[in-house]
Amino acid sequence: MKNVYFLCLLLISVTLHGYGQNRFILKGKITEQKSSAVIAYANLFDSIQNIYAATDSNGHFEIQLNEGKYSFEISSVGYQTIFKEINLIKNTELKIELKQDIQLDEIVVSSDKINKTAQNNSSGMTTLSSMSVERLPAFLGEKDIMKAVLLTPGIQSGQEGARGIFVRGGSPDQNLVLFHHAPIYNVAHIYNFLSVFTLESISKMDIHKSYIPVQFGGRLSAVLDIEPNFGNTDSWKGDYSISFITQKFHIEGPIKKNKTSFNFSIRDCHAGLFLYPLSKKQYKSASGNEGSIAYYFFDMNSAIKHQVNEKNTFSWSFYVGQDFYNFTELKVTNTTKKTEKRSTDKRLKWMNAVNTLEWNTKFKKLNISNFYNFSWYQLNPKQYLGLEQIKQPSGDKTNTSTDYFTKSRIMEHGWQTNIEHTINKMHLLNYGFKISDRNFLINKVNYTVRDTLGNVVDEKEFKNPTVNAIDFYVYADYLFTWKDKLELKGGLQLFTYTASKKAFFYALPRAEIIYHPIVGMSMRASAGYSVQPLHLLTNNTGDIQNDVWVPATKNIAPETAWQVSGGVQYDHPKGYSASIDGYYKKMDHLTDYKFGTTFLSDRIPWETQMINTGKGEAYGLEVFFAKTKGQFTAWCKYNLGWSTRQFPELNQGKPFFYKYDRRHDVSFVLQYKLKKHFDFSIAWTYGTGWRMTTPTSSYASDLTIVSYDQANIPLVGTQAMITNWNERNNYILPAYHHLDIGMNYTKDAKRVQHILNVSVYNVYNNFNIFTVYQDGDTDINGNKYKKYVKLSIFPILPSIGYSVKFQLKKDKNQPTEK
């Protein structure tokens, strides 16, 4: 009874207090000072009066306050915090600009600060801005955001030249890479030398690997959410840069000032200019045959944003990129009877395209975002094989040629509606739905044989039936915040997937708790269940590119995974931070090749070539230290991890280590800004070597018996040396490590800035393994023997890059700072 009386008194006093004052609306927009790009989920916090607000995904905020004086601390990840004093005596609209923290926060691991929206607050989240990558050492003069991703905790590369990234023991296809909410199915150019993203085309990248927000679905390990650069709304700027392998041009600016802006960038690879003639010479000297290699790629990005009014914004982004690889060879053999010329012309083309249209509107407390996206990835291998025979001594000539064209493609249309609902400071909701329609062309093979006159003598076409797969999910995320101490977050995704007349349904819960015992410290734990309805069939040591995406069907179930993780993080106000996280992940229905399968070959139903019975387990620890303020900044990560797989059909059903089970993975980055013009950086990466299966013995046996009349006489038919192997992935190759250094020299002129970058990759010239192959050799006694040879392709690589930036109008001054 006493409690009820007390509550009534409290309610009356609060009400009376409210009646005594006028209330006004304080609203505004927070943008980045340099590019005028909006800053989503920035925080405004008055610690004296304990008032909090956050911007929505368009950078807008709106709160109702009593008349009076306020002192707001305005902050966002990757930006310098500013303080703003406001004397609120009427409805007020502010335009606030934040400066990117270029000396600081090169990589920001989510500090789990309280007062964020339900959407962006998740543990284990890492944010990378394009600016943070600019100061890292370059590879052949080119800086790449995916290289920076590898320096963050929990993420590692497979090996030198391996495609994709590996997150917490998962495979590369388990990572969803989104460019403005559109999935990109191939993020790497040849052998992962470079990613498809130019720094100028992106604003920032959020990496989620613990609590994956419910609006993202369809992958098991991580989400890399890339926000495009929509251009500067205030002034025109651009740049041109050239390095050893690429050149690029970028321009951005306002189409209509403070209303409509655009960004455009294009990059091409000119490595082929010297690769083609050089390979021609080297091939001749190495093999005695004519041969050459050519390689080329390009990327093109464009993005436009138009603000119709305070409540409605439209944006559009587009990316297209293509790689082209060509290998030619001419082998001539002369015998007394004939001269034979065999020609090979292998052409490999792969291409990505994505396109997103976004409409964002605000309705009362709702911020509604609608996305339409289109994604496309295609792989086209072509082979032209020619055979010319000249009989001796008659000189009769015959020609046959075989054309072999293969095509594999994935095409996706998607729609997503996402609603952010800020009920009040304590209760935040995020809900919506997403539907994706994917069309898979697994393989289409055209085979044509021509005779001497060019007439077609044999022509075949084979096409695995195209598969249409639709996934649809509805989701809701709820964040409850109690004072500045505790955050509880729960989400549910109801996921349905249909392909080949088979429907799958999954309820995918996830939950997270974050506790802040003291200011700057957070203790966090999360758990989540996820599903992946498509699989990537690839290998990392075979041809240049052979990624084929296939859908889950009634015969190939979607992959699923449970993950629990927990950790502690501390951020000191002086810019030091440290964190430790642990995780355990259990995966089911993993896929692999059956023995001896070739997905792009003809007449084979692709589903019969896969095994889908795999289980996987991954667990480990991630430690991260960073110094983010001052002239000298640094960060260091250490991952300790285990990752295993088990298939009844492989390794006699026993569990085996995943190829990229990397026990130790370490990297550190040191950066130093010297005066105005120079900055230096050093990055060192170390990882336990990847695993391979080694042979134990070999023996002669019948491979298959061809001759029916001699079938009972062993070793007369087709013979072969058969190899016996040790347990799968039993051998760990030498560790992968390299030290890179970089220096930027910046010279400012009127509206023009010149930047010279000098970098050295692999300073101490460590021979990291690119691939391992078998070769024959002869010992000093003349005995022949077989050996395994490791091939390294990146020795010490010094490089120079130059870029010139221009801006038609100078940046505005900083907003009021205290």
């Binding site: 293969t406 007449r603 062993p714 070793l715 799968r728 022949k784 490791k790 091939l791």
Partner: protein
């Protein structure tokens, strides 16, 4: 402009050349131990023939030398677990040492055969396999290429009774025996017997995804029944051949013949992935050794086409 391009080309070429000189290929010495050397037994046997067993030594993976055949083994042959004889060694090729242990006894169908091979240093290896009976079957040639339609595909059917007594394994093979014209330097034409074994036959009842020249199947779906199967194949007809005979081989095979062969059948590779090179250990019926001890019993039907 051209001058600049030339300079750029020379510059890039120089840099790349420098890199390629210092890039490296090095041998890896595996620290893992190699498996002990064992006997390798290779044997296919069929009814009404003597048993021919080849025995050699396995090698370490880094050994590139020729296979060493063993002639100093004591090889005993058993039928239904009853000792028959110790087989004698017959040298076929003096240079390589290739030879076989040959039985004097002619093998009979529907019997279990076992060999035990004892070597002075490599110990004892053994294997056993059931030898099935030759299958009785009828075959009909339903369609074939001819002089008017030389590219027409072929079709045939076979009918046979599956034994309910055993689990049965089968293969179907199609071959052509032809008399091929050979023109000598004097311009005279002679005819030479030749075979074409690379004929792929496929059936809905017996998928042959790898397009292998023998189609393997089991009686899983027709255990103990009379079965008719229709096969499609690429038929062959050429008017320059003096004689064309098509042979259908239908074979009842032992489990190890089926297992040994099907484990090794790979789809044709087009070098577009490494799946075909997936490390894989062949499972065989040789105890304390490698290789295979496999039985097959074939029946043939011949169609004279020209």
């Amino acid at each position: 402009m051209r001058c600049i391009q030339n300079y750029r080309f020379i510059f890039y070429s120089g840099i790349l050349l420098a890199f390629s000189i210092i890039s490296c290929q090095k041998e890896i010495k595996f620290t893992s131990s190699y498996a002990p050397i064992k006997q390798v037994i290779n044997c296919n046997f069929t009814p009404d023939n003597s048993l021919n067993v080849n025995i050699s030594k396995s090698k370490t993976p880094n050994d590139f030398n020729s296979v060493e055949f063993l002639n100093d083994c004591k090889v005993d042959l058993y039928e239904n677990n009853i000792f028959l004889e110790t087989m004698r060694y017959k040298l076929k090729d003096t240079l390589s040492g290739l030879g076989w242990y040959v039985s004097t006894y002619k093998l009979k169908p529907a019997k279990l055969y076992k060999i035990i091979s004892e070597h002075p240093t490599l110990g004892i290896a053994s294997a056993e396999e059931f030898l099935p009976s030759r299958p009785l079957f009828t075959a009909n040639l339903l369609q074939h290429a001819d002089s008017i339609n030389p590219t027409r595909s072929g079709k045939f059917s076979i009918t046979f009774s599956d034994s309910s007594q055993f689990k049965n394994y089968y293969f179907i093979g199609v071959y052509y025996k032809i008399l091929k014209p050979i023109v000598d330097t004097l311009g005279d034409t002679t005819y030479k017997v030749d075979y074409n074994f690379n004929i792929v036959s496929v059936s809905n009842d017996a998928p042959n995804p790898a397009n292998f020249n023998r189609t393997f199947f089991t009686d899983d779906n027709f255990e103990g029944q009379t079965k008719t199967m229709i096969f499609d194949f690429n038929s062959l007809y050429n008017t320059t051949y003096k004689s064309i005979e098509m042979i259908i081989e239908f074979s009842n095979i032992g489990y190890n013949f089926y297992s040994w062969t099907t484990q090794q059948i790979k789809p044709p590779s087009n070098n577009l992935n490494e799946g075909a090179d997936e490390p894989f250990n062949l499972v065989s019926n040789i105890k304390n050794g490698y290789g295979h001890f496999s039985s097959f019993s074939s029946s043939f039907v011949t169609f004279k086409l020209r």
